[in-house]
Amino acid sequence: MSDDGVTRRAVLGAAAAGAGLALAGCRKQLVDEFVSTRLAEMDRDQVRRFVGELETRYREQYGRDVHVADTPAEEGVLFAYGLDLDRCNGNRKCVEACVEENNQSRGGTGHGAPIQWITVLEMDKERGVDLDHANMYYDAEQVPREGHFYLPVQCQHCDNPPCTKVCPVEATWKEPDGIVVIDYDWCIGCRCCMSACPYGARHFNWTEPNLPAEQLNPEMHVLGNRPRMRGVVEKCTFCVQRTRRGLYPACHEACPTGARVFGNLLDPASEIRQLIERKRVFLLKAELNTRPSFFYFYG
């Protein structure tokens, strides 16, 4: 076995917790021996080696051919999402597509509840956007219900993200193309970010996730949809494994009403920029100054 990321990550599990303080002086050496390297600190070669090890591990574990990308952010790109509230009818096709694309836990006995990165809220037209009276457990077979409208919520990839700054170990951060990502191998599962997120976008693996091999999506990204482990946080990554290859996010493709828009905010010709010009824009909890990259359109 080589001595790079994965191996050291495994060793860490066995490292005696208390040993740490006594050796506080020699951080460098200790980092090499016991503590894995954070993805954010790895150079290109280390990332490549790490990704290679991940592929081997997943192939063994799922008995399938997989590809784990490490595509970095492209210069001149700042991703943004748009959602037309007039069109969304609450059918939840986006939720299903997201689960399949992003290898979310299907839940079940011994695996807790399924994990979903998108929550669609049913709201009363008369009340407007009033979260206290929203219903996330409505029946998607019955939509659209008279007198209601639908508001899908997922990670807003804020420009001023309250979640990344609270993380005690810097396991989550905002990439140059605007995507807020998590290093699943560095997260300690303290859930500070879940308390900080005003959108309920972050989800925790309360136990071992359930991802049957035949349902695995083998096209992965190291910062995106690769399988997660128990005890770490996950959330929407704007489908980083797709969007950095020039594809649309899975939820965008799955939406039958055409309510979803995705594109590069820095490109004046992009559809999202056009819509921001033409439509009225609504930002969820704008008063919190999170500055979402997720624009709701209406009118």
Binding site: A17, L131, C167, W186, C187, C190, R191
Partner: protein
Amino acid sequence: MSFLRAFAAFTTGSIRVVTRGSVAYFAWMAALLALVVVGAIAYSGQFEHGLIRTGMRDPVSWGFYIGNFTFLVGVAAAAVILVIPAYVYHWKPIKEIVLFGELLAVSALAMCMLFVLADMGRPDRLLHIVPLIGNMHLPSSLLAWDVVVLNGYFYLNLTVVTYLLVSWFRGRDPDKRFFTPLVLFSIPMAVGIHSVTAFVYNGLAGRPYWNASILAPRFLVSAFCSGPAVMLVLLQVLRRVTKLDIKREALSKIAELMAYAMFVNLFFLGAEVFKEVYSDTHHLKHLEYLYFGLEGHTALVPWAWTSFVCNVAAFVLFVVPRLREKALWLNAGCVLIFAGVFIEKGIGLVVPGYTPSVLGEIYEYAPSTTELLVSAGIFGIGALLFTATTRVAIAVVRGDLRLEAETQAAAA
């Protein structure tokens, strides 16, 4: 003889002190040990299956563990802050008050750290958050700051108590030039650990229940109630079993100060309630959930009122001189105040912050059996630690544990 050799003799002597005692003492220690074993078994289940064994879920992602942590930070802080009135009012055995206050702080902090560990999704990655080894996200993360100040405070107190005990053990007077600056430094540190812990919650703009500036001040004043409650009981025990001249007036004074602290605590609560009720925004939901329940979800309501009644009753007992001067009422007040603040911080602070959730969902949290057992186990560890260390400290203070005696015994 060098400090190290004295320390070694002190250690052997201490082991002897904690391994001998009356039947009652052994029964108490055995009960605690049983609690720890039960807690460890419950924790091993959680370690194997994950935090699914708790009552926490995505909408309520912190619960009893973090609540206990918060409460105990208060106990750790306030035990030491008691040094201030001790200086101001010239309570005589001041060094002893410092000693026992800091011993309590050390045990409380050990429990704090265990509660954080119990709450971690990946305890195997603990090193990621250890200062100097992991990657502390400073200055941005308040939890990272909390780890720094709690560790600092822990080692500071440990140094002071070890120094005082070993000095007395060697029959020497502790050197004021060494320990006074440390004790003085531990006072702002005590305020610090408590404020930083409050700021962990306070800084989250998406959670209006916590995002109120009154939070840190309320934390401090409620800690002024719970920490001294433990100390009051302890000081009475010390009066009995040692020759320490702890005056009745000192005890009564502490109770009086606690009454004022409780008054301020209740006043702050009132200020908060007024603001929320009168402005009647959707922030009110969280308080409503705590005191009246929401849409039939009323799990916290009996606890919230119990806490309120305990706090008010303790205030009355402590503010009336005739009552607080009677040992019975004094101790009843201590129990009431401890229970009141424990509920207030342990459950009343954390859970309503999440209920309703940021998307308006009401998930009714209740601690699971695993959470209760693990927590009981951690309190067991804390109580074991505190009992053992106070026992040693009492032996040293009484002069039963002395270096000469140890060396003579070794020679014989």
